[in-house]
Symmetry: C2
Subunit: 208 residues, 2 copies
Amino acid sequence: MKKISESAVRRLSLYLRFLQEAEAAGSDTISSGELARRGGTTSAQVRKDLSLFGSFGKRGMGYSVPELLREIRQILGLTRPWLVAVVGAGRLGSALSSFRDFQARGFEIRAVFDSDPAKIGQSWGGLTVQPDEEMDATLREQRVDVVIIAVPAEAAQGVVDRVVAAGVKALLNFAPVRLRVPRGVTLRNVDVTLELEGLSFALASAKG
Amino acid sequence: MKKISESAVRRLSLYLRFLQEAEAAGSDTISSGELARRGGTTSAQVRKDLSLFGSFGKRGMGYSVPELLREIRQILGLTRPWLVAVVGAGRLGSALSSFRDFQARGFEIRAVFDSDPAKIGQSWGGLTVQPDEEMDATLREQRVDVVIIAVPAEAAQGVVDRVVAAGVKALLNFAPVRLRVPRGVTLRNVDVTLELEGLSFALASAKG
DNA sequence: CGTATCTTGTGAATGATTTCACAAGCCTTG
DNA sequence: CAAGGCTTGTGAAATCATTCACAAGATACG
C-alpha cells in the first residue's frame, strides 16, 4: 500500500465531519466541490485524497453521503470503538475525560491514572482515578488501545516508556516536550505553546 | 519578505525550547546537529530554517546559545508579552487558564468570558469570569492580542465574529469545527478529535 | 604558521504535495 | 435515444519542502 501523508488523513477526518453534517441536514449526495468549500481546499484535492483509497463517486452526481460516510469510517478505522486511558488527573485530564464528543466519535475512556495520592480514588464521571502502579495491569486487562498523556513535561517520557511496555501502540501527548517512542508506536502531539508561538509569529510579522 | 511555511515556524519554536534547555544546562554553544537530534530532524533542515532569517552561526563552532535565543525570540515576536483572553469557562477553559507555562513563555491571560450566568463572577486564579456582553469593551480596553476559544462547537463561530469585530487578530480554537476568519486574522486550530482519528487510522492500518 | 578538524551556509538535486486540465461517465430533458 | 450539463478520476505540470554535498570560514594544536 502506498504511503498516506498525515495531512491527507487530517483532511479525511474533516470530510467525515462534513459528511455527518450533510447527513444530519438530510442530503443524499455531496460533491467534491462542496466538501472542498467547507474544508477550505480545492475539489481536486478532495478527489485526490479519496482516490488514494478507491473510487467512491458517480460522475455527474458526486458522492452518496451514506456510502462515503461508510467508506471513510472504514478507512479511518472507526468501525469499532477504541478504548482509551488518560494518564494525569489534573485539570487538563479532567477536561479531556469529560469531553462528551469522544464517546460520540467512538473513543471510550476506560481508565484514569495519577501518581498523586490525593487524587487516587476520586470518582470521575463513573471512573475511579487509579494509582500509577496499576497502569500496566489495567492497560492490559482493559485492552486499552490509546493513551492520552496529560502529565507535566518532566513526567511524560516516563509515562510513555511504561505504557509502551504495556503494549499500547497509540499515544496522544499534551505535554510540551518531544517524546521518544519505538518504531511501530504512533505518537501525536498537541502542543498549545507551539500554537501560541505560531500566532505570535504571525502577529509580529504583520505588525513589523 | 519571502514566505515562511507553518512547519518552519513550528520547528523554530521547538529550537527555542531546546535552546532554553541548553541554556539551563549551561551550554555556551550548540550545533545544528544537536538541535536536529533533539528535534527529530536533520542538521541541514535546521540550518535551512535559520538561514531564512539570517546567518547566526560560526563555522566550525556552531551557534552561540544566548545569541540564537535572542534571535529566535525576535523572529517569533516573543520580545514582549502578548495579552490573552479565554472565551469559555468550562473545564477546558479552566485547564488553559491555570496552565502556568503560558505566563512563563510570555502569554498573559487578562480576561475570561462565559455566557452562563452561573459561571459569571467566579474567581479564577485572580481573574473574575465576565459575561459575554462585556467582551467587546474588555478586549479593546485591555488591548488583548490573542483570544483562545474554548466554547462548544455551535457557539464558536459567533465568538469568532465578535472578537474579530473587537479588533483581535489572532485566535486559537479548541472547538471541533472549521471556523471562518477574514483576511488578516490568523487562526490556529487544536482539534483533539482529529488527532484521535489520526491515531485510529494508524492503528487500523497497522492491524489490517 | 601550517595543518587537521569541525561546522556553517547554500546552490543543486531530489522528493512530496498540490493544482491543472480534460477524457469519460452518469443523469436529465425533450 | 440523442444532446446538454455536471462531476468524477487521474495523468501531467507546477509548486513547495527536504536532503545532499561541498566550498569556505573558524578554531585548536603542534
